[in-house]
């Protein structure tokens, strides 16, 4: 089962069209292995992107050197997935008990 230890989801906010274009450039940086959950649209809409651990530092440095604002939307993706799985397991156990 694929795990996502150390992955974070960043919410990136462009302040103008130039920054938007710089964020768009990230889509072409294949070596970062980014997964855009919410793509680049317009300045009013934030971009959400899952960043693998091995790319975190580079992506954050890229954003900071270009003065692009970002926040960490999901700090620890794997922890969230494990919580989700636990909830599903609990439902399954409860269902089993009922039947």
């Amino acid at each position: 089962k694929e795990t996502f230890e150390g992955h974070q989801v960043l919410r990136i906010t462009a302040k103008d069209e130039a920054q938007l274009a710089l964020i768009k450039d990230l889509e072409d940086m294949i070596h970062f292995e980014l997964d855009f959950w919410r793509g680049v649209t317009d300045v009013a809409s934030p971009v959400d992107v899952r960043v693998p651990f091995h790319s975190l530092q580079s992506v954050k440095v890229y954003l900071e050197t270009k003065a692009i604002e970002y926040a960490t939307m999901i700090e620890d993706l794997q922890a969230l997935l494990e919580k989700e799985q636990e909830e599903m397991d609990a439902v399954a156990r409860a269902g089993g008990a009922r039947s």
Binding site: R38, G39, M73, I74, L80, M88
Partner: protein, 305 residues
């Protein structure tokens, strides 16, 4: 289905069992049509809600992007809602006395199974791509509407890979065949998450749809109804103007087939979890979306074309 836990996420087999149970409980209203199968051989089962023969139809699908779990969960809630509201909700009863509703909850079953067993982040289909180690096609870029134009990727490793040709994915081709053979669908609503938008054609071209004015005003009505429950604010407009250019998309194809009321939803975004929406958001999301669906379905019923 009364004891089904609508407030939690479920496995693919639980959802398939739920569908069968709903059919058994409502034999005069609900039936199951298998319109095809996925690459890995899972059934593409459509719930048909019908009170008579030879009716025009309204289509809803959920989960074409498998990782957007709130959509399949909402689809399950919609199915129960339709079954219980018929006979008690005058608006839905009127619709179902004159039209059929088709609901495809598990639009990308291989992807969904994969999100639950191997990779929660999986969005595409699961068919291998010859010559590439990357698997799957984005089934919302695989339709024959501007296929291959800008707004989709030709790289099999991309999340928006369009596939080798339009309808290459059996999950897409099965719906295409069904829509064509039915020939009388009046609305087609494809449900995604997240980012809170209600969108109409086109995505592959900036040429406005010929019904844009009507689609726009109906979208406004629908999102107003949606917001009336919990205040969730949606943006609305054509895909290309509201999000970005996207070619080979579902509703562009359905609209070009003559299904005027073609819409796609992007459901609720709490701003914290992306598409990993906590299970306690499922019912509020489904409830508010239902209000918008009803606006569109009522409009399609009252404005025959």
């Amino acid at each position: 289905t009364d004891s089904f836990d609508y407030a939690n996420y479920h496995t693919i087999s639980e959802i398939y069992n739920f569908q069968d149970m709903l059919v058994r409980e409502n034999p005069n209203l609900v039936s199951k049509i298998v319109i095809g199968q996925s690459y890995e051989g899972r059934p593409l089962s459509v719930l048909k809600f019908s009170t008579g023969a030879n009716r025009p139809g309204l289509w809803i699908d959920t989960g074409i992007h498998s990782r957007e779990w709130v959509t399949q969960a909402s689809g399950t809630w919609f199915a129960k809602k339709i079954a219980t509201a018929y006979g008690s909700d005058p608006a839905l009863t009127a619709i179902l006395n004159n039209m059929d509703i088709f609901l495809l909850i598990m639009t990308n079953p291989d992807g969904f199974a994969y999100t639950q067993t191997n990779n929660r982040m999986w969005r595409k289909t699961r068919k291998p791509n010859p010559g590439s180690s990357c698997v799957g096609v984005d089934p919302n870029r695989n339709w024959d509407a501007g296929f291959g134009e800008p707004g989709a990727s030709n790289n099999p490793c991309s999340e928006t890979y369009r596939g080798p040709r339009a309808n290459s994915e059996s999950e897409v081709k099965s719906i295409v065949d069904f829509v064509r053979s039915h020939g009388n669908l009046k609305s087609f609503i494809s449900i995604h998450s997240y980012s809170q938008m209600l969108l109409y054609p086109y995505g592959y071209t900036s040429t406005p749809a010929k019904d844009q004015a009507e689609l726009h005003s109906l979208a406004k009505k629908a999102i107003t109804a949606l917001a009336s429950l919990y205040g969730t604010r949606y943006r609305y407009g054509s895909i290309i103007n509201t999000i970005y250019q996207a070619s080979g998309g579902t509703i562009d194809w359905t609209y070009n087939q003559g299904i005027k009321y073609s819409y796609t939803f992007e459901l609720r975004d709490t701003g914290d979890y992306g598409f990993l929406l906590p299970a306690n958001q499922i019912i509020p999301t489904a409830e508010e979306t239902w209000l918008a669906l009803m606006v569109i379905m009522k409009h399609a019923y009252k404005n025959a074309y």
